[in-house]
């Protein structure tokens, strides 16, 4: 039985909502904290968020983000 896109959305919505709120709250905490942030991982996370929002044919967001976060 293959789930339709609507069924996958229905099953995922609450978890996605929760994860987005957690991320939003973490970024709010970051913005509220004093001092400068020059950690290169911050730029990586911002790039990762851009990847999340893209819609590449065939998916692959997780793999692209993991490659972005890999140390060569």
């Amino acid at each position: 039985m293959v789930m339709t896109r609507q069924q996958v959305f229905d099953a995922s919505f609450l978890d996605c909502r929760c994860m987005i709120l957690e991320l939003a709250a973490a970024l709010d905490r970051l913005d509220a904290a004093p001092g400068e942030l020059t950690d290169p991982r911050h730029r990586q996370l911002q790039e990762a968020l851009r990847i999340v929002l893209e819609s590449p044919a065939g998916g692959g967001r997780a793999a692209r983000i993991l490659r972005l976060l890999s140390v060569e």
């Binding site: 789930m3 997780a62 793999a63 993991l66 890999s70 060569e72």
Partner: protein, 273 residues
């Protein structure tokens, strides 16, 4: 539903976990050798640890009807200490004869250093010489991609038999290379640093079930043996049959482990009466 938990560090868990795993359908576990939480100083410490996981842990698991197997190795983290590693490896051949020892593992890389690679190579050569099954740990987080490439390069160089090698902790960016090279690939379900149950089911649906293993590891850090059952539930929730679940969570581990003659586990098939 029957489960085999193929990668489980029982030494770091309470006995209650065995009871709860038995309640949840786990019939067997396999415990690889790993880091003690501190760097060991003496070869004797390793040897006593090997005795603990090959002699004592099976008795603890047996109280709850769970069969316990183990793997012996110098783990990737302590592989940095070449002198100690060589001393431990010198006594390994005799210890591999233990009645519940499946093979050599978990070996591999931690930070991808030259010393780790040397110990990895030595243990792979030992495994090949003594016809042992092999369980390989790939590094965590950012080191995983490079470490997996280094692992595949070494295995190719040593002409390891892919059917007898399990490369664990694969994620979305490493799984294809491992499967394409013919090895068994393990997905480890961890809350933060490895794969989640849902992502693991995504991988099962994308790559098929052949040569894929799922495990919880369950060790010193935040982890749970029951992510295995969470993954099975997600697989079932997406419409897969009970036989398909058995294939992933019992039969695949049985197929891999039974390549060691000491392991009597066999695949199961459901029949409607």
């Amino acid at each position: 539903m029957y489960y085999i938990q193929p990668h489980y560090h029982g030494i770091s868990r309470t006995t209650e976990d065995y009871q709860r795993m038995a309640d949840a359908g786990v019939v067997a576990v396999a415990e690889p050798s790993f880091w003690a939480g501190f760097d060991r100083r003496y070869a004797g410490t390793f040897i006593d640890y090997f005795r603990q996981i090959s002699e004592f842990e099976p008795t603890r698991a047996a109280q709850y009807g769970i069969r316990h197997f183990c793997w012996l190795a110098v783990n990737p983290k302590e592989a940095e200490n070449l002198t100690l590693s060589r001393e431990v490896l010198s006594v390994m051949p005799e210890l591999l004869k233990g009645p519940t020892v499946l093979g050599i593992g978990e070996i591999g890389l931690n930070r991808n250093t030259a010393n780790e690679l040397e110990t990895f190579r030595a243990q792979m050569e030992l495994a090949i010489a003594h016809r042992q099954l092999v369980l390989i740990h790939t590094p965590h987080m950012g080191d995983k991609l490079k470490g997996t490439r280094m692992t595949l390069d070494l295995l190719r160089e040593l002409k390891a038999d892919p059917a007898r090698v399990w490369i664990d902790h694969v994620e979305e960016h490493t799984i294809a290379a491992v499967l394409d090279a013919g090895y068994w690939a393990g997905m480890t379900l961890y809350p933060t640093t490895k794969m989640s149950p849902r992502r693991a089911v995504d991988m099962l649906e994308r790559y098929g079930r052949e040569r894929l293993l799922v495990n919880s590891s369950a060790d010193w850090g935040p982890s749970s043996p029951f992510t295995l059952q969470e993954c099975a539930h997600e697989y079932r929730r997406r419409g897969h049959t009970e036989q398909e679940l058995l294939e992933v969570f019992h039969n695949n581990p049985a197929r891999f482990m039974a390549q060691c003659a000491k392991c009597p586990l066999r695949p199961l098939e459901l029949h409607v009466l």
